[in-house]
Amino acid sequence: MENKQATSAHSIIQKWVAVYSDDLYRWALHKTSDKETVQDLVQETFLAAFKSLDKFQGKSQPKTWLFSIMNNKIMDYHRKRFKSATINQSQLNGKSESGDVLENFFDSEGTWKPDARPNERQETEGHLLDNHEFKSVLSDCMKNLPHNWDSAIQFKYLEEKDAKEICQELGITASNYWQILHRAKLQLRMCLEKNWFKS
């Protein structure tokens, strides 16, 4: 009997692999940076689904269920990546031997440097994400951030919890958190200005 159940579970997952694996692969590719990680995530997702198939009661679409399993795995990945890339305090806020990242944007008085000074042009961000070229520029800009900043951003927006809980999960203080986001967003904005808005 058990064997029969296992066989049918197996054939269900087999079908899901055929139907959903490309979608899951693309989703993970969009959320993480290297292909090896992505392949592991897809594999782990199907294995986890297979092992807990009895918890799937058909209340949701198989696709929704598989994506929720995968999203948890993606968040685990970013939580770990954030922690392993954050070995000391200085890596949290981008202070290195070459100085604080903020020095790229502000002079010694703390005033905007000319090329970093925000202009008054309004970007119509609403439609930007329909543009594949823009998305690939944004994706490259994210990949150029220090790994822990990129992971903090991915984690923050995927997790949809309030800031205090995110700090707890990442094991950082509130000021660490907004200082990371401050620096990461300055850098992202500069990268988008250079590679998109100016061209």
Binding site: Y25, R26, H30, V42, F46, F50, Q122, E123, I153, H182
Partner: protein
């Protein structure tokens, strides 16, 4: 008076930090006043405030965006990996 002014005057560096902080946490009354005074005098930081919020919603949409439309990507899971997954499932039967 001068001391008070100095305390209330922020640099753009600090003001832009408080703009970020305000998105995620609440500011204390002094920080609120500091930011209000700075933003009322500094056009660059006023623009930054708007841009920072825009970037926030852009990132939020980007990260949640359904990237499943076939035209958005021609990436497919390599066949050998599909085979590997199936094989692994077979072993876990």
């Amino acid at each position: 008076m001068k001391k008070l002014m100095n305390m209330l005057m922020l640099s753009c560096k600090k003001a832009s930090g408080l703009i970020e902080k305000k998105i995620h946490f609440s500011l204390n009354p002094i920080e609120k006043l500091q930011l209000f005074l700075h933003a009322s005098m500094c056009n660059a930081c006023k623009s930054y405030k708007k841009k920072s919020k825009d970037l926030d919603s852009l990132l939020n949409k980007y990260i949640h965006q359904d990237n499943q439309k076939p035209d958005s990507s021609n990436e497919f899971l390599p066949d050998e990996l599909k085979q590997r997954i199936l094989k692994q499932l077979e072993e876990n039967k």
